[in-house]
């Protein structure tokens, strides 16, 4: 910082240079051109006026290129190997989910031998062309004879969709409620936060069950809304706390002083300053949402029973846990890996979004 400061104010630089400092290259002396007596302190005026330095002391610009948010994320990932691993795994998860029909070895409804253990083979005519094939099940088959790897890959679609949509719902509603509560305070704050407390008192899954019961019917949209609403309280709480402290900052007063309205102050001035903990919270919520969806599906309140989701897979395997443990264990491992990946990525993102911290290093 000091180097740059000095550069930023050449006049400060120049005044810091004693006039007799370097012997000049041409062998002349500083005073050869006759300094003029300065009126203020009776000193001689030097060869170099304010803002001038000898050419050999001129420095190049040190203004750094400004880094965009994306560049900061890339930098963070390059430094933080764990976050990088998380990011790669999340990316993999997304690619697999999006391109499920191309990635999966079989169709989601195709059936083979029942409850085959991992790495076993099914032999038979599965594509109806009259010839017998041998099919390898890398992760085994479930109790209906579906290839487990295929089901997990298709299950990733539902899980990803539900997780992102759920966190999106919870993030937008929760953040808005929290900002409004923190910014306005008073009775508005009391009303919103008492509601949040009320919701806080119930475990998410119970709340989700309740909301689904109220809405009636199964389906992805209902699951998303149910879990999304159940997660509002965490976001609301976190951002309210942030807003309460940001509200007292002088730059908020300054923002009002240039004529910004309440909405603009809340969403343009405050949100960027509160975003770091929210991002972390969001990445922590994604795995929770996957688990909640799995939980609801497991209870039979999630998506349609024939839809492949990780929760349903675990639920199906439960009856056969002693005979065919892989049916439950492998989707469980998939959930665990994704949860882990999102968590490490979230940790890394927090550093990337903390502007002052990432720039200081």
């Amino acid at each position: 910082m000091t180097e740059r400061d000095a550069d930023a104010r050449p006049e400060a630089d120049a005044s810091a240079q004693p006039t007799d400092h370097p012997p000049r290259a041409d062998g002349g002396t500083e005073t050869s051109d006759g300094g003029v007596a300065d009126t203020t302190f009776g000193t001689r005026r030097g060869e170099f006026g304010v803002g001038e330095v000898p050419p050999e002391y001129e420095t190049e610009s040190t203004v750094e290129e400004h880094r965009s948010t994306l560049e900061r994320i890339v930098r963070t990932l390059r430094r933080d190997r764990l976050a990088l691993a998380g990011a790669i795994f999340v990316l993999l998860f997304v690619v697999v989910a999006v391109f499920a029909p191309y990635v999966a070895p079989h169709g989601p409804e195709e059936t083979f031998g029942l409850m085959k253990p991992p790495l076993s083979e099914s032999v038979g005519d599965f594509d109806g062309d009259g010839q017998t094939e041998t099919v390898t099940h890398y992760l085994g088959t479930d109790s209906f004879g579906h290839d487990l790897l295929t089901r997990i890959i298709y299950g990733a679609r539902v899980s990803l969709l539900v997780a992102l949509a759920t966190v999106g719902v919870a993030f937008s509603i929760g953040t808005t409620l929290g900002i409004v509560a923190g910014y306005y305070g008073g009775w508005i704050d009391s009303v919103i936060m008492r509601y949040v407390d009320f919701q806080w008192a119930f475990p998410e899954i119970i709340l989700g069950v309740g909301i689904i019961a109220v809405m009636g019917g199964l389906g992805v949209v209902n699951v998303v809304l149910a879990i999304g609403i159940a997660f509002i309280d965490d976001f609301a709480r976190i951002i309210r706390g942030e807003v309460l402290s940001i509200r007292e900052e002088e730059y908020i007063t300054a923002a009002r002083a240039v004529g910004m309205g309440d909405l603009r102050i809340m969403f343009k001035e405050m949100v960027p300053n509160a975003i770091a903990p929210l991002i972390v919270q969001a990445t922590l919520m994604i795995p929770l949402a996957i688990l909640a969806e799995a939980g609801l599906s497991f209870l039979g309140l999630g998506v349609k029973p024939t839809t492949p989701t990780w929760g349903l897979l675990i639920s199906d395997g439960r009856q056969f846990i002693s005979r065919a443990p892989w049916i439950s264990v492998i989707p469980g491992l998939a959930i665990m890996l994704v949860v882990l990946a999102f968590n490490t990525l979230g940790d890394g993102l927090r550093d990337a979004f903390d502007i002052s911290q990432s720039e200081v290093e």
């Binding site: 910082m1 400060a12 750094e64 290129e65 004529g259 001035e269």
Partner: protein, 424 residues
């Protein structure tokens, strides 16, 4: 941005009409034990192109006064009385068009009637304000042949939030004490200035949230007029390599540069009045001098007036044209700067000057003012300075001090000053 002499306004009341006329301003904060009178009937006027100082010790109500001028007193505080008249014909026209329901016409005869009724009211603005109906804050004093407002003022105190948001930043802007905290750490300096420009000037860039998002995603923020203007402003306050530095975040600026950037932001929409609330207090002396020089130069370049709030008498002596001395919520003395320092009259001002250390005479005894600033909750005595005043008499505690002429355009609110006949 050429340096032009301030436009002469039609001469109405004998002198030049001030840009800002504050009359009888009262700001109170209710607390459990009573009411804190942070500003108790303050009168203040600022001419176009002038730098007016407001000095006083900590807790004298300077900053609350500034907040009152911008309609930014924090709840539960409230401006309970007075008028803050911002006089500018363009402004009156603009507001008369934007808030047609809030316009009220005041004629010379109306004012004469009010003055006859209430001799205590001295200023036009104060008299006019007594005629305002509910919700009216745009006062038109005269209209041209087409019926468009020609002269008048906007009462900032009565203005609703929507009008205040137009005024703030666009007409009155503010520079704060602590440059470290007065810029948003998550937005680039250029973006913060550009945003102010977008808010107040018609540069064809929408400020709606979707438009903001689009700019952010497409990255078009830097192609626009607003961004160009932000860079111009940074150049105007002598930030080196302005174009590159506009992309920096505030923490990449030094304290002095941040204060320059704040000034750039405050001046970006060419306000009529810049309120500088202790702009140099948090800076070291060399930077202080630079900032003050710059403020003075920019004042001319941007044709703006400055209200400089400070506790530093040296800063006032150096920069201001006229000075108001404030003590415990009241303005106690006002005079041209040279006159004030050559011939301080109010005992408080005298004490303030005597208690300032001087570099030239380090051996001089510093004489602090005895006692402390009073608790401003329901002050029982008339002259707020009386308990600390070396010259106070019984009557000082009982009778409200009025302003007395003590020199050329020099007034002091002290019963023991003024013409010998009135003096206590």
């Amino acid at each position: 941005m050429a340096t032009e002499p301030p436009v002469e306004r039609p001469n109405r009341a004998g002198g030049r009409d001030p840009l800002l006329e504050v009359g009888g301003l009262q700001t109170q904060f209710p607390v459990e034990r009573g009411t804190v009178e942070a500003v108790a009937t303050a009168d203040l006027s600022i001419e176009p192109g002038e730098i007016v100082g407001l000095v006083g010790e900590s807790g004298s109500g300077k900053s609350v006064l500034a907040q009152s001028l911008m309609g930014m007193v924090e709840a539960p505080g409230e401006v309970v009385g007075g008028v803050v008249a911002l006089r500018d014909s363009d402004l009156v026209r603009e507001f008369a068009a934007a808030f047609p329901d809030a316009v009220t016409d005041v004629s010379e005869e109306d004012l004469a009637l009010v003055r006859a009724d209430e001799p205590a009211i001295t200023s036009d603005a104060e008299a006019a304000a007594t005629l305002a109906g509910p919700g009216e804050f745009v006062f038109v004093e005269s209209r041209d042949a087409d019926g468009d407002p020609e002269a008048g003022f906007v009462d900032v105190r009565r203005a609703p939030e929507a009008a205040l948001q137009r005024l703030r930043g666009g007409r009155i802007s503010m520079v704060f004490q602590d440059p470290m905290n007065s810029m948003n750490p998550t937005l680039t300096v250029g973006e913060q200035i550009a945003e102010t420009v977008r808010l107040h000037q018609d540069v064809g860039e929408s400020v709606s949230l979707p438009a903001e998002l689009k700019r952010k995603i497409v990255g078009a923020a830097k192609n626009g007029e607003a961004w160009r203007r932000a860079i111009e402003m940074l150049e105007a306050v002598e930030i080196p390599e302005a174009e590159a530095r506009a992309d920096d975040f505030p923490h990449e600026f030094s304290g002095g540069m941040r204060q320059r950037a704040m000034i750039a932001m405050a001046l970006s929409c060419e306000p009529d009045l810049l309120i500088a609330d202790e702009p140099t207090t948090a800076l070291d002396v060399t930077i202080q001098a630079q900032i003050l020089d710059e403020l003075t130069a920019l004042k001319d370049a941007f044709d703006t007036s400055i209200l400089l709030i400070t506790h530093d008498l040296a800063v006032v002596a150096e920069t201001c044209d006229r000075v108001n001395v404030m003590y415990a919520g009241e303005i106690v003395e006002r005079a041209p700067a040279d006159e004030l320092f050559a011939n301080p009259q109010h005992p408080y001002t005298q004490g303030l000057i005597a208690s300032t250390p001087r570099v030239s005479n380090p051996d001089d005894e510093i004489e602090p003012i005895q006692g402390n600033v009073p608790d401003l909750i329901d002050v029982p005595y008339a002259c707020h300075f009386a308990p600390r005043c070396p010259e106070s008499e019984r009557e000082c505690f009982e009778r409200e001090p009025d302003f007395r002429e003590v020199g050329e355009s020099h007034e002091a609110a002290c019963l023991r000053r003024g013409p010998p006949g009135d003096r206590l």
